[in-house]
Assembly symmetry: C2
Homo-oligomer: 353 residues x 2
DNA sequence: CTTTCTTGTGAGACCGGTCTCAACTACAAA
DNA sequence: TTTGTAGTTGAGACCGGTCTCACAAGAAAG
């Protein structure tokens, strides 16, 4: 099949000629706008069918200004958290006849900027973004079309946002650990930090990360744990260095007796590493993770998780964004969805000597 | 509908005016084609920067005919198999500066048809599809743009296709089970059948499903198992009925002593169901599944899997398709990637009385 | 029997790019 | 001086739709 020999697609003009009406009239029927008499409508429809006319959505978008699609930029589609959220988004979008252009940022700001530029050039009507980093949000602030944030809020950015009660979730989960007697508790996240941490949680702009850390620290403080800040470990994403970080953590002198993981991918890495080190959950170490990934219920022991309404998260942002596309002028909403903790078997009493 | 706060975007004409050159010249610089003198180029570029010009990709596609994006239709993004394959596709696409519009078919032909229609209307340059069903392929055959098939071949459709050695993989996996002494072996797949099965494997058009069944039957035949066809169970996808099917299978009088699962989602369902029934893997029942999903290595016991090169699968189709977009005229290729079996602990001797 | 309104239709501009073609400028070769 | 030729530039058509506007014909109103 030679692509070069242009596939001369059928246009409104062709249909118009076939139906012996003007281009304008044919367009009215085909585009479903304006008024047309029944007889003419039938004629045009028939001609269209005979010619196998297919509208060119691009040309349509060209004049109307709206493309009928929204762009979604997530960190990593492979992460079950995101694929589920994306399904929520697509389902909501499909209901409104809108389609979704997906882009991966790999959690890198540069890739994110680029993805946004491309999507904008493609004239998406709106954008749903899971900001990779917090410091660098200029590119988000200057976006001209409706924007909605998924899972991660940005205080400086007053746009529709759907997140979960991260602080509270982290608080409750950590409490569950302190109540079991744990004092050396680590929080392990894939997020990376632009600058230095030094316990200045307020400096972290990405809400999800900040709120969870605050919740974690709250719980630690409640029971008088000193310097809990030092037990927060960043950068445990998909990389070799991350693996090393985890190994070091587990083999260290004062290895934690309990770990709270920021997502199921990190948790799986931890789970494997813990085994590799010959440690036992929950005897030697307790584990709780964010996101009720499917594997967490089939391990031995099954993992206690913070269950986030991920599908709803996606569905909600999409609905918010679409409502705005339809002309809703309400001030931006910030929806915070509740989480529940599913207790399984991965939390035990502290093994501390 | 108020779109009013019109965002009067900057066009080539605006830039041209600002730079005091003709629209054509400005377009040449901005579009990167034709010849322009250094001085004029600089002037235009400067004007563009000053005005913050952003090209309208839609308008560009309009005239060039190519949109710079490809459409991908998969069964279910949530299935880790697909999300990984999609990442392979996006990575390959990004390298060529092409972007990906993703659509979910939910494994339903109607949704698939619809998705294809929409993508085509959006003028995608090419299409990658994982055909949901086998019988109904008219809509695929009449696609005018380059098409490539992922994971599932269609014999009647002579287009670029990348699959794995399904028959061989199923054969080897089943053999592993027969060698362990199993005779009552079930093959459980999420695929649904249009008509009746009755053992006429040749009637199944979807290559993946057919080849696997053939391999399965081959292995059964080798050791003289009669009527193995009756142990093939379709329709175990995401649904309540699927759950029922599995339960019935496990509780039946002559429940199988070994199961081969067609994908990790089915396998996870099976794993849970097996536990629920109080059965033990591998003592009471052995399990092998296609796809080395991440959870399969952390269960107790870890699951023996057929490891498919999923990422490569996605990357390869994308490369094939992109090559064709660039004008390659070679006859369609059918690439078959090899699989390996990762032996873990889920296969034991037959528990048959 | 006009006057006004309604309805259906066609002509043609327009969206924001690309691209063809002709014209103009130098400068070199004849 | 004339003719080529290559390099630059501008004018305007074009892609395939939408949409504004003018106009004709019949219906309703005066």
């Amino acid at each position: 099949m030679k692509r070069p020999p242009k596939a001369p697609s059928i246009t409104v003009s062709d249909v118009a000629r076939e139906a012996k009406v003007s281009k304008a009239t044919a367009a009215r029927v085909l585009g479903g706008y304006g008024r047309v008499s029944k007889t003419v409508r039938m004629a045009v429809l028939e001609a269209a069918k005979a010619l196998d006319y297919r509208p060119n959505e691009l040309a349509r978008s060209m004049t109307t200004g709206r493309s009928g699609s929204i762009g979604v930029v997530v960190g990593d589609i492979e992460n079950p958290f995101f694929s589920l959220a994306v399904r929520g988004i697509s389902d909501a979008a499909r209901l409104s006849g809108i389609n979704v252009i997906l882009a991966n940022s790999g959690e890198e700001v540069e890739a994110e900027k680029n993805a946004i530029r491309v999507l904008l050039a493609k004239q998406v009507d709106g954008l749903i973004v899971t900001p990779a980093q917090s410091g660098d949000i200029g590119h988000l602030a200057e976006i001209a079309c409706p924007l909605a944030l998924l899972d991660r809020a940005l205080p400086e950015l007053d746009v529709d946002t759907v997140t979960v009660d991260d602080r509270d979730a982290a608080l409750r989960a950590t409490r569950m650990l302190t109540r079991a007697g744990h004092r050396r508790i680590a929080y392990v996240t894939a997020a990376t930090l632009s600058g230095d941490f030094r316990g200045a949680a307020s400096k972290i702009n990405t809400s999800t990360v900040r709120e969870r850390i605050l919740g974690f620290l709250d719980a630690c403080r409640e029971v008088g744990i000193e310097g809990a800040e030092r037990n927060i470990h960043f950068g445990s994403g998909r990389s070799e260095s991350a693996h090393a970080v985890i190994q070091r953590l587990l083999r260290s002198e004062d290895r934690p007796t309990a770990i709270l993981a920021s997502d199921s991918v990190v948790a799986l890495d931890l789970f494997k590493a813990i085994r590799q080190c010959g440690l036992n959950i929950p005897r030697d170490i307790s584990l709780i993770t964010f996101h009720d990934a499917d594997w967490t219920s089939v391990t031995t022991p099954p993992i206690t998780v913070i269950d986030q309404p991920v599908y709803a998260l996606g569905k909600s942002v999409a609905e918010l964004l679409i409502r705005r596309l339809k002309g809703d002028d309400r001030p931006p909403e910030r929806i915070v969805l509740p989480t529940t903790i599913i207790e399984r078997m991965s939390v035990g009493p502290s093994s501390e000597t």
